[in-house]
């Protein structure tokens, strides 16, 4: 079935089973590989993308439910919040294996877009859906705080 998707600002036509999870359309059809597969049941957050600015688990999102939305993947997160987050991620050496970090960066960017100065509790709440098996959590917290501080200045 042919569907029309708006991904990273561009409209793309894909011919897929409408029940296909968005994750596999992004990866297998559009070859945007930054978004990862970790569990397939919305438990780990490696597949996080933004749908209309909201962090969403693409592994359980049927592609035909998001045809009229704006989908943003790690390849196109931009703006001051994304830049601040990614700069802090590099400066604080957040990633270890790195496999979850696309999802972490998307969730953290969405957090700062919604709440520019999050409390520690708000950070924990916003990032609770993103598992890091290497447990880089202490640095994720620090990097979000640092990015938030940068944005203020």
């Amino acid at each position: 079935m042919s569907l029309s998707l708006t991904v990273n600002g561009t409209t793309r036509e894909v011919d897929v089973d409408p029940a296909t999870p968005l994750l596999w359309v992004i990866r297998d059809e559009l070859r945007l590989t930054g978004t990862k597969f970790g569990c397939g049941i919305a438990q780990c957050g490696a597949c996080t993308v933004m749908i209309n600015g909201q962090p969403t688990r693409s592994c359980v999102t049927p592609v035909d439910t998001v045809t009229d939305t704006d989908i943003t993947t790690i390849e196109a997160v931009d703006g001051p919040e994304a830049e601040a987050i990614q700069a802090a991620w590099v400066e604080l050496n957040v990633p270890q294996c790195g496999y979850c970090q696309s999802g972490q960066v998307v969730s953290a960017t969405a957090l700062l877009q919604a709440i520019p100065k999050p409390t520690d509790q708000e950070i924990d709440d916003a990032m609770a859906g993103n598992v890091c098996r290497c447990a880089t959590y202490a640095r994720i917290r620090s990097a979000i705080r640092q990015a938030s501080d940068t944005l203020e200045g």
């Binding site: 569990c39 049941i41 390849e75 957040v94 294996c97 790195g98 496999y99 447990a135 959590y137």
Partner: protein, 714 residues
């Protein structure tokens, strides 16, 4: 948008003429190799390009531990490079060039990566530096000794300057120094400093490439269905429904299960779910893990094989004023790297090329060639970033590589990506062994420990595996490491091991035997000290042997950091633990409070002595990661085998992952003992669970003796 990967052959051809600037002719390489047991082949490790980038070929898998940054920083230091010009790339599989000197094969594990590369990579960097200097000396007509190098710039006596790129090609004609001089550590500029990890940018913007990200032309994605019990096999397959799913190309039975090939991932997964398979369970393991734990516990209470002893243990217990006894049960554990096991293979007539997060390249390479019945020279194995391993990708029998090769062999020439699901992973065996410890302690009338006994029952990881030669006189040290060679000076002690058998495949899991031995020994010791009326820190210090200076230093340091004055009396209590593993010494203090009946760790202080800390920030990050990984496991994780033999858990909804809100604040101090560098990937894990449990005992009066805590009703 299809990514065409260059073949290894094309890669070598292009680099030989174009960018290898530091090359070593074969004859000279052979001579250099003959001079020492460590290969000296700077061209195998360093490529200096005319664009002034320096690429270091990394012989070990980068799986998050910082191999790329660590090994590149050793080269950069001796090369006097600018850190910004450094790059890292995974080396191809080539055992002769890329051996891990700790093992004698290409591969990494046991926290050996940095340590075994420390001199080798520095020498490579120093050789390349000398060759660049010689090239500049020729061009400028000056003496090489008059040239200085700093931050990637060569400067001549008359103010001439040049970059490494300027001399990249001319350096090809330079003599390769046989044994280049290395810097004195006091001259280090990059080693010992915080550096930006080379893999941070790509891992922060989604551009880093993992195995799952490789898409070849015409590639099929393959899902696999494994038997539901360990030791079961396929009896019959009905693939009618699977083949009706659009996008499913074929179904094939392979030795490890049933493979479904799809034009895309969703089709392959759906096809797998539609398979109807009859299993032959006649040879399967049917015992539950609870039943096994009872058998193991009985063995741990009985006579087992003595592996270490001192003094007269029986007399110590006979003369004791007080004795104490405890049994600990540690569950099977899955590694659960966030990237499920995966591999890509391009099979053509008589040749194959493979991409995977290979941790033991020599073993995987040989296995791929063996299954494909090809000469190893016709199989290229490319190592790709791994989304975590924690031991899972270090497979002595190369099970995954063999499965990947079988997937390709069953289908014929073509390109295939074998992608496990999380369910394949959690139910895939190769667990941290189920283990039972039985400890006894003897105290004299003054409360002094006079006897210590520990009997451990578990399966051997290496017996029956291709690594069986690591067995020592029938003993598998990975089963009980950490319970022996303890730093404490017991008047009398005995450690014994009972080898258990089951069909559940077991594997090393981050910190291996230390995952359980640190817990039982450091919580039991804590109880004995309390029974003897001693302080947990001072009591340990008093017990430490004269040779245990490094243990003493980290223990004193962490007590100082946390302001230790006992476990405390308020809502937050402190617990301490000390444990050496893989040559690194780590002490931790955990501060814990009771939140609705569950332990919540608010803060962890950690002091680590890993010898000379090459990349201090990587050391700190590995301590943080070890703490998080260890805490989550202790709180939540176990693999339960049901009566009949099925694994209960299948995904993260039941095998619960540590999350950000579980993570304590962590403060790490590096105690530099100026010993040679030792590893940090594993040693940060063992002390956290006993430190946390000791604090919890202070709050509740009891040490959890059955892990995870959640299972123990905590």
């Amino acid at each position: 948008m299809t990514l065409i990967k260059p073949t290894r052959r094309a890669f070598l051809a292009s680099t030989a003429g174009l960018v290898i600037a530091v090359a070593l002719p074969q004859a000279r390489r052979a001579a250099a190799q003959a001079q020492g047991e460590q290969n000296f082949a700077p061209d195998a490790f360093i490529r200096i390009a005319p664009d002034n980038t320096v690429t270091v070929l990394i012989k070990h898998l980068e799986m998050g531990q910082g191999a790329n940054t660590g090994l590149a920083s050793l080269v950069a230091e001796e090369l006097d490079a600018d850190w910004a010009q450094m790059r890292a790339e995974s080396a191809p599989a080539d055992t002769a060039l890329y051996t891990n000197f700790a093992f004698g094969i290409q591969g990494v594990g046991g926290s050996t990566g940095l340590a075994n590369s420390y001199t080798q990579m520095r020498k490579a960097g120093a050789a390349a530096r000398a060759m660049l200097v010689e090239a500049a000396a020729r061009e400028w007509g000056v003496d090489a000794s008059a040239i200085t190098v700093e931050a990637g710039t060569l400067t001549g006596p008359d103010g001439q300057t040049g970059t490494f790129g300027d001399f990249a090609e001319a350096a090809l004609d330079s003599e390769v120094p046989a044994d280049p001089a290395l810097k004195d550590p006091s001259e280090f500029k990059l080693i010992g400093q915080k550096l930006t990890r080379l893999d941070s940018p790509g891992k922060s913007d989604g551009t880093s490439e993992f195995t799952i990200d490789i898409y070849l032309d015409g590639m099929e994605t393959v899902a696999i269905l494994h038997p539901p019990k360990f030791g079961a096999t396929v009896a019959s397959v009905n693939d009618t429904a699977a083949l009706e799913i659009p996008g499913v190309i074929r179904v094939a039975q392979i030795p490890t299960g049933v493979a479904v090939y799809g034009t895309n991932t969703y089709a392959a997964f759906q096809g797998r779910d539609a398979l109807e398979v009859e299993w032959d369970e006649s040879g399967a393991e049917t015992r539950s893990s609870a039943e096994m734990a009872q058998v193991w516990a009985e063995a741990a209470r009985g006579d087992a094989r003595e592996v270490e002893a001192s003094g007269d243990v029986d007399a110590a217990f006979a003369n004791a004023a007080t004795t104490h006894e405890a049994e600990f049960v540690f569950p099977f554990l899955a590694h659960a790297p966030l990237e499920p096991l995966d591999g890509v293979i391009q099979l053509s007539d008589g040749e194959a090329e493979v991409w995977m997060g290979s941790q033991l390249q020599t073993v995987d390479h040989g296995t791929l060639a063996g299954v494909l019945q090809m000469d190893q020279a016709n199989v290229a194995l490319n190592t790709v970033y791994a989304g975590g391993s924690f031991g899972r990708r270090a497979q002595p029998a190369s099970d995954f590589a063999a499965e990947l090769a079988n997937v390709a062999a069953a289908a014929g020439p073509g390109a295939y990506k074998l992608l496990w699901t999380r369910e394949n992973d959690i139910r895939g065996g190769n667990y941290r062994p189920l283990t039972v410890h039985h400890l006894k302690g003897a105290l004299d009338a003054e409360g002094k420990i006079i006897g210590w006994q520990n009997t451990i029952a578990n399966q051997s990881i290496i017996a029956g595996s291709p690594f069986e030669q690591m067995m020592q006189d029938g003993l598998d040290p990975t089963s009980y490491e950490g319970s022996t060679q303890m730093p404490y000076d017991w008047p009398a002690h005995r450690v014994s091991w009972a080898r258990m058998e089951s069909q559940v495949p077991v594997l090393w899991w981050r910190a291996v035997g230390h995952t359980h031995t640190a817990y039982s020994t450091e919580t039991f010791l804590d109880e004995l000290l309390e029974m003897g009326g001693q302080d947990q820190v001072q009591g340990r210090l008093d017990l430490l042997s004269a040779e245990a200076g490094r243990d003493r230093a980290v223990l004193e340091r962490v007590a100082d950091m946390a302001g230790w004055s006992g476990p405390g009396t308020g809502d937050r209590r402190m617990g301490i633990a000390l444990h050496e593993s893989f040559g690194s010494y780590v002490a931790m203090i955990a501060e814990v409070e009771d939140r609705d009946g569950h332990p919540f760790t608010t803060k962890v202080w950690c002091a680590v002595d890993c010898g000379f800390a090459v990349n201090p920030d990587v050391v700190i990050s590995q301590m943080e990661g070890g703490i998080g990984f260890g805490l989550g496991t202790t709180l939540y994780n176990e693999i339960t085998i049901e009566q009949g033999g099925r694994v209960r858990q299948s995904n993260f909804d039941q095998y619960r992952m540590m999350r950000i809100y579980d993570m304590p604040e962590v403060e790490v101090a590096i105690v530099n003992s100026e010993n040679d560098p030792s590893g940090v990937g594993e040693p940060g894990l063992p002390p956290i669970a006993p430190a946390m449990a000791n604090a919890w005992r202070s709050l509740t009066g009891a040490t959890p003796r059955r892990l995870p805590l959640q299972d123990a009703g905590v």
